[in-house]
Structure formats: structure tokens, C-alpha cells
Symmetry: C2
């Protein structure tokens, strides 16, 4: 079913049918209604390619996701999708497996398919690559920091403040030796948190001991291995992990070494993943506004898509704050109480 057949059926020219589709106000009401009815009846849908060839607009956005098996990333994705759907856009979700080669390839794909804009979550790419895309006329928004990239519209979380708050808690609870297990990614955020950790300890006159600072893989296994080493070397009273996954692994390791969480070693994580209140003891953690990050990111993008000039304005950077979720694993008995 194509426009020609509709035109013939209505006894008009293709131009008139096209007008009904795109500028109905320019068509006489009577002809318009007649044509609309035929379109309905025949379930005519304009050909996507033919339209694209003329418009170069696809009502599609691309979303780069570091790793789809991680449900925290998917929560952000859901935020993006919610906004997109409401705007009548479709979202191309791309799983890049934390690999910048795959990420580049997907960007290419998205450009080929003429998406109207791209959102990158914790991008592994370099600034110059992204700049090139944007200069091609496809707006870009960054959600979350992996590399230290400026100059784009972006949404970030104040991870440093979040980490600092948790370390301060530990100190307040009376812990004198505090370890940190920090993940290798997202790079920038992990660095920020490590920095926060050091600053708070210094502020409070606590000596910084390198044996309590350990870089690990941002996985359960990474946390397990890192904690096992750290604890075996003489355990700190508390451990802060830069992700919940790391914290889970750490808790497992502590238990395996015959010690108890939080009595022997308190633990806190970062992210408030869904299973944080299922593990035993329930994990104290820093909650991130994932869904909101997605929503704000998408809004930034649609601002750019809908107003072409904005792409040349000074980029906006939105910073969101974290929240503490105090549960049993950090050893603070008074503030516990959450069911799900």
C-alpha cells in the first residue's frame, strides 16, 4: 500500500495525500476527510525510508549502555525510555560490554541509521570522538562519568559527597580503621570517591594506610578477592566499597574468613542495587537516583533535538545528590528498619 494507490482510490493526486499527512490545514476539509478515511480503511502507513529520504528525521534516539546485565544501568535506561516514549520517540539500546571498540561501532551504526540524538552512559570514548559526532549535527548527552569529559550536556552524580558521607558515618560510629575497595570503573567516579575517602580521613586526623586502600574489579568476585587480601592482612574495622557488587563480595570474604559483618568488620556499599536488602546482613549503601539520571539525561537531549541552536550554547551539567540507606551491615544499630 503506497501513496499512489491512496491517491487513486481518492481520485486525487499524490501531492494532496501527502498534504493530508503533513499539512492537513492546507487541504479542503471535505477532501481531507475523504482521504483520511481511505487511509484508515486501508491501514496505510507511509514508507519509512521514503520519508526519511526527504526529512532526515527519524524520531529515534540511541542509548549506549555499558552492560545490560547490570540492572542499575537498566534503571537509568528505563528513565531515558520513559521520556522518549512520552515524546513519541523510539530508543535504540546498545549494549557495549564496557568495550570502547564496540562502543565506537555502535555509534557508527546509530549515525548510519540517522538517529536524532545519542545518550551515552558512562562512555569509554575519548572526548574528541564525541566532539566529531556532535559536529556532524547529532546532539550528544552524557550520563555518568567514566572518562573525565567536559564540554557536553551531562548528568552526573556527586559521588564524592556520597562517599564522604558514608566514611563520616563510619567515623561517627567509632570506627578507627577504615578500608576502601575501589572499582576500576566507572573510572572518574571511583577516583572521586577515593579522593573523598582520603580527605575525610585527613580531616579527622586518621592516618591513611595504603594497605587499607585496594583497587579491585568492579564485580562480586573482585570484591571477594580484594577483601580477602585486605582482611587477611589485619582487618580494618570498616570497609567502604565503591559499588554494591564489590560490597557483596567483601561480605562473603569476611564470612569465609570466619568473621562477622558488622561485628568484626562493618561494610558499606554504593548504589543501592536491588539485592542490597536481600543479602544477610542487609547492606548499608549509598543510593543513587538512577531513574532520575535517565529522565534528566533524556530531557537534556530532547532540548537539543528540538532546538538546534542550543547545541552551540554552553553545555548544561546537572549534578544529582545521593542518599544514605542505613541498614545492618554498617553496624549502626539505631537507624535500622527497612523491609524491602
Amino acid at each position: 500500500m503506497n501513496i499512489k494507490q491512496i491517491a487513486k482510490a481518492a481520485g486525487v493526486s499524490v501531492a494532496t495525500v501527502s498534504r493530508v499527512l503533513n499539512h492537513p490545514e492546507n487541504v479542503a476539509p471535505k477532501t481531507r476527510e475523504k482521504i483520511q478515511k481511505i487511509i484508515e480503511d486501508k491501514e496505510y502507513k507511509p514508507n519509512w525510508f521514503a520519508q526519511g529520504l526527504n526529512f532526515n528525521r527519524t524520531k529515534t534516539i540511541g542509548l549506549i549502555i555499558p552492560y545490560i546485565l547490570n540492572s542499575t544501568y537498566m534503571e537509568i535506561a528505563k528513565g531515558v525510555e520513559d521520556v522518549a516514549l512520552q515524546k513519541g520517540y523510539t530508543t535504540f539500546m546498545c549494549n557495549v560490554e564496557k568495550n570502547n571498540r564496540i562502543e565506537s561501532e555502535y555509534i557508527e551504526q546509530l549515525l548510519t541509521r540517522k538517529v536524532d540524538g545519542i545518550i551515552l552512559m558512562f562512555s569509554f570514548l575519548q572526548e574528541e570522538n564525541l566532539k566529531a559526532v556532535q559536529e556532524d549535527g547529532v546532539p550528544i548527552v552524557l550520563i555518568g562519568e567514566n572518562k573525565d569529559i567536559k564540554g557536553f550536556n551531562s548528568v552526573r552524580v556527586d559521588c564524592k559527597a556520597g562517599a564522604e558521607g558514608m566514611i563520616r558515618n563510619f567515623i561517627e560510629y567509632g570506627h578507627k580503621t577504615i578500608g576502601i575497595l575501589y572499582g576500576s570503573d566507572p573510572e572518574q567516579e571511583s577516583r572521586d570517591m577515593l579522593e573523598g575517602y582520603r580527605e575525610v580521613l585527613e580531616e579527622n586526623g586518621i592516618a591513611i594506610e595504603e594497605k587499607y586502600i585496594k583497587a579491585v574489579d568492579n564485580t562480586i568476585e573482585g570484591g571477594y578477592l580484594g577483601a580477602k587480601k585486605m582482611v587477611a592482612d589485619g582487618p580494618p574495622q570498616a570497609i567502604f566499597a565503591t559499588s554494591d557488587d564489590i560490597a557483596y563480595g567483601a561480605m562473603d570474604a569476611i564470612k569465609d574468613l570466619g568473621m562477622k559483618v558488622p561485628d568484626d568488620v562493618a561494610v558499606a556499599g554504593f548504589g543501592n542495587a536491588r539485592m542490597s536488602n536481600l543479602v544477610e546482613p542487609k547492606l548499608t549503601t549509598v543510593e543513587l537516583p538512577f531513574h532520575k539520571m535517565g529522565i534528566y539525561g533524556a530531557r537534556l537531549l530532547f532540548d537539543l533535538i528540538e532546538d538546534e541552536d542550543k547545541i552551540n550554547e554552553k553545555p548544561r551539567q546537572i549534578t544529582l545528590q545521593t542518599k544514605q540507606r542505613i541498614r545492618k551491615s554498617c553496624g549502626h544499630k539505631e537507624r535500622i528498619g527497612e523491609m524491602f
Copy 2:
């Protein structure tokens, strides 16, 4: 940059350039190389829409996902994507929030965007709707059963056998009263498991008591509420849950009622979600081959895409088997031993 400019730069006609792109063997090596070099230099990419207008092939497939926050679905998705990527296809992932209206809308979108095929995971749609799509020439593959739909190429899991095996284990371990918490979705699979449950009890001469059979929401909360009721009414010695989420909730409820898992009530789940060996006690469960489901599903689809005649052949249905993961929660002490 378009084909005309390349042609001019190379001093040939557009047809020749097009040939280099699509049938390079029909171009004299010298001309071909010359043109290829220019294409490289100018980073020329054929226009997506113009190509589509001629080919009506997009090298894109659609993937309907019930709910992206559930990482088990995303494991299937990853299987699909792995195959697609290898075939040079891009995957459109669509999150339908377990809602058949959204699902229909996305199918429309996918058709508009001319995907070459669609994979539906646990589709909520009716058979006739899907038939219509396939008759439009877009092949369809089903992964997992929600509705009872025949007549399509599909990948399913023998859930019934999986459930039966676990119930048999319980009986073998000496449990005389066994409850089941079955989720509302996926519908068909849950029904199968309930049927398996009844059959095994009958086979073993165990009376079926309706108070031990409870339909719940397929969520942690659902499991919690269902188990609370069941256990408060006089607990069974063991509970089988048709999903891990339900099992987590059940374990929480049992603990909240002051009883111990597995000593007072043994628990087993279904799915082997990532956190099953993080909860305390670690959850005994039935492992499903999610990744494989995705891979097989994708292969079925590409068979259909690549060989148009196959769409009229008798559909193939692949049935995969489950595996048991015996951990602490079921109370069988001897077979425990897993770290991650």
C-alpha cells in the same frame, strides 16, 4: 557526501560506484581500487534511507523484552544480541513492561522501521496478532512461553520437568508437606510447573492440600506476602517457588516469622538469578539456560530471514532442559558447595 560526488571524484558513473559497494566482483580491479580509496578517504557511507528504499532490508531485528529491570530477561537478550552482532545485524531492544498494549505499539514501530525479523520473549500477545505480522512477511520467533501459542518457530524450556525434579528432591530429602508459590507470569510456564507439582505429589501418594498452593505476584514482595500467609497457616516442611524472586521473598517472610531456612522450612526457587548465591542461606534453585535460549532463538530467526521459503515450512520448536543448583536453602547438607 553522496554517491554522485564519489562518482565525480573518481571520474566514473554512479552505477560503477554502486557496483563497487554491492557487487565489487563486477568491476575492473583498477577502477575498483581507485573508487575504494576515494570512498575511504572521504569516509563515504551510503545513505541508509536510499538503500532501504531499494532493498527493503535493514539488517536490523527487533527484540521484545518483557521487562528490562529483570536481569534474567537481559541474559536472554544478550544471547540474541551475540548472534545478531556476529551476523552483522543490529538489535532493536524494546521494553514492554509486561503490558500487551505497549507490546503491540512496539511491534508497530518495528514494522514501520522495517526490521527484518522479530523475536518476542514471553509475549503477552494473542496468536492471531502475531500471525498477521508474519503474514506481512516479517518472520517471528518466540522465546519462552507466556500465552499458549503454537505455530511459530520457538525456544522453550521444559519447566515442568524442572519443577518436578525439584519436588522429587524435596520428597527424597524426607519432606512430607510441600507448598508451592506460583507466579502469575509467565502464565504458561507457571501452569506447567503447578501441574508438575501436583503430578509428583500424586505419584508419591502425598495428599494435595489447597492451603499449600498459592498464586502470587512474580516479585519479591509477592513471595513475601504469599509465604507469610502460608506459613502462618501452619507451615509446610518445604516450599517450591516458581521464580527466584518469589523464593527470596518467601525466605524473608519465614525469617520474619521467627523460623529458620532450611531447618524449619526448606525453600527452592526457579531461575538461578545472579543473587541466588548471595542470599543467606544460598538458594537452591533450578537453573535455566538463558543465554542459550537467546542464542537458539536468534538462530531460528536468522534461518527464517535468510531463507524466505522456510517461513512456510512447519515451525521448529526447540525445548531446552534445566539443571539443578543444590545449595543450602533446601536443607540437603551433602551436596552443598559453590562459591560464586
